[in-house]
Symmetry: C2
Subunit: 408 residues, 2 copies
């Protein structure tokens, strides 16, 4: 897509935004890793967010939802190391975090978005947050964006930040973001913690619509372990400083904005899946020829979520039975006698199943293809025009290791 | 329950049945493990079965369904090492297996139930089956039941056979069975390969009803990895040789029969879960106080299927967040402020969450409880009278190892 150029930077790339991350020792045992971040805009922004659909929610989600009711936000405060979920004083603490940010940044407390990620059901102490905000105060900068990206990481092994440049109504516009993922990433509205900023002028209603559209085919198509977090938050803030004509309807500029956001979010989705807990491979499952779009989504998700498919991919085992099986129990209506399955990577492509029947194939070639760290699982159903793409990762010893004793 | 006594034996414990298992080298690389079995009754039996709901099915299921249309069966032929699924000549091979059994046992080929388990999408060669049947011929005996149980094992580490004695209409009646499980065991009608025999006199219609009722709360409540096999078959044959009055309606004897079958099947369910691929622990999730039965089923299954819960149990980590999270995304309607969670084992019981809030608990005590190999996860919802029990296992390094290269 020529409309879009990936550029360096993250959440501070758009005009008006600064950020910073510090080590606040939210977990007393953490004395080195940054775990508290703030993002700030020099002016109040139009804003929108999507949150987890889990009934068990972090208190931060209840508070952030309330603060976003008027569609305005000017800052974000976010910690890792503690999810602030299932705690008696959770709401109180979340509100207190907003107040600390509001005082440090001289913004309205109701214009602060708060988010947390980490262990559930353990009280989040306010003292380290206080000290952290004290340390953050006056240090927010363009360069600090990267530290903010680091501060939201939990079991992530790679810092996730991105920025893209596009043109809206003749004006250069930048969108940037940071994200954390790794485990507990599942296909349900608003996975992971993600904060997105832009200098585009766009109403909060249109931001909300744009989020929904782009999340649908990106974040909502990622699964690492099938579990849906209590804390998933994806918030976007638009400063309007690019000076483009304010997007208030679903006009051409809106469409471009959604298109750019979708391309960027799909890249983030791949980053999240590739960095899934313990993952050694990114799996991209492309389904076409399904009865309809919904069936394609159901089938691609069923494959990407199958523990047996994920374990087979870890072992570079071109087992077509695992794929067929996951298609068969997905719940989607398929003609099982028309299913073709191929594996593809930088090392080539190999057909392992034709018309629902397993083929004799070159095992050496298949092994070579599957030993790569980015694998496409291609499923053709010959049954219609529905297509979809889902993102996941392999299931490894390290996933078990990471989650066998997560709290310590 | 006094109505029932577990006794020694398996599929040959009831009057009229003999069985045997041999090594037929279905996989050429297998030269020692028994992989072909036959079960035989001296007279035609009333019979019924439940099968996988996966759209991608082994050819054996299509053939067995057809053979059971008249509710009569006299023999079973079953192999491990190859699933006979997604093969061009699958139906032909499954019919040929029935014919081989019919000739060896002098029964009608239409009265033979056929089943296979193993790798999907690789042709099942008939030659080893022929040789195997030749070896089986004339060797079926009461003592051979145990060899049949061995012959259906794949990645199972423990042979699964059982028998119970009860009284129906004043007559002693025996029910026996063999089962294989391990991986790919999921909550959908008719999980695993299981063959059940009885000398009770009961119509095939009532057998079918009894299977459905008892499977619902036993086999259908087990999950090892969330994947549903293409080959799941649970067949039951009744010789009627116990001489009780034929059960043709849902009378008291029928109720006793279902009750006994249910107790036995729940024990099998636990055996299947405990021997899940790579498992070191049996997990039993008991949910009560749910809005209704359906909600309780949904929630208990959601917990038992969560990779994060399973990994935490492997690590003996009393993480209540994993449980709350799985309750919250289950899809069932719950009041998140009323959820209590406890862990229980032979070493005691500990409350880790009260009214949806994480508690400070004795970590040493929790660890001691969770280091046992049979763990109960107790969830009280305080919201109604719905209760349910689901069976699963922990997620371990060995699960990944076993499934990383299943085909070799």
């Amino acid at each position: 897509m020529e409309k879009l150029k990936f550029i360096n930077g993250g959440v501070t790339a758009p005009m008006g935004f600064t950020a910073q991350g510090v080590c606040a020792s939210i977990k007393p045992s953490n004395t080195t890793k940054r775990d508290l971040a703030m993002i700030y805009c020099e002016k109040p922004c139009n804003a929108a967010a999507v949150f987890t659909k889990n009934l068990v929610k972090s208190s931060t989600i209840i508070v952030s939802k309330k603060h976003l009711e008027n569609g305005i936000a000017q800052a974000v405060i976010v910690n890792s190391g503690n999810a602030n979920a299932c705690n008696a004083d959770g709401i109180e603490i979340a509100e207190a975090m907003c107040k600390l940010a509001s005082e440090a940044l001289n913004v309205n407390a109701d214009d602060v978005i708060v988010a947390s990620t980490g262990v559930i059901g353990q009280p989040l102490p306010l003292e380290p947050v206080k000290k952290g905000v004290e340390a953050l105060k006056g240090t927010l900068s363009k360069e600090g964006g990267s530290n903010a990206a680091e501060a939201i990481m939990t079991t992530d092994t790679i810092k996730k930040e991105w920025a893209v440049e596009t043109v809206l109504g003749g004006k250069k516009v930048i969108i940037g973001g940071i994200a954390k993922g790794s485990g507990m990433i599942h296909i349900n509205m608003g996975t992971t913690l993600s904060f997105v900023t832009t200098d585009a002028a766009i109403s909060s209603e249109m931001l909300s619509e744009a989020l929904k559209e782009s999340v649908e085919v990106s974040y909502n198509m990622v699964s690492v372990d099938g579990d849906t977090s209590t804390n998933d938050t994806l918030a976007i803030m638009a400063s309007g400083l690019a000076g483009n004509e304010m997007i208030c309807t679903k006009n051409e500029d809106y469409k471009t904005f959604v298109e750019v956001l979708t391309v960027a979010f799909k890249e983030v989705a791949k980053k999240l899946a590739r960095d899934g807990e313990g993952a050694t491979k990114l799996l991209i499952c492309k389904v076409d020829g399904a009865k309809d779009y919904k069936s394609a989504v159901t089938i691609s998700k069923s494959i990407i979520c199958s523990s047996l498919v994920k374990a087979a991919m870890f072992g570079a085992d071109a087992n077509c039975g695992r794929i067929l099986c996951a298609v068969g129990y997905s719940g989607a209506d398929v003609d099982v006698n028309k299913i073709d399955v191929s594996y593809k990577s930088a090392k080539g492509e190999i057909l392992v199943c034709k018309d629902g029947l397993g083929l004799c194939f070159d095992e050496d070639k298949a092994k070579k293809i599957l030993l790569e760290n980015e694998i496409e699982i291609l499923v053709s159903l010959g049954d219609g025009n529905g297509s979809a793409e889902a993102y996941g990762c392999d299931l490894t010893y390290d996933y078990v290791k990471i989650n066998g004793d997560y709290r310590t």
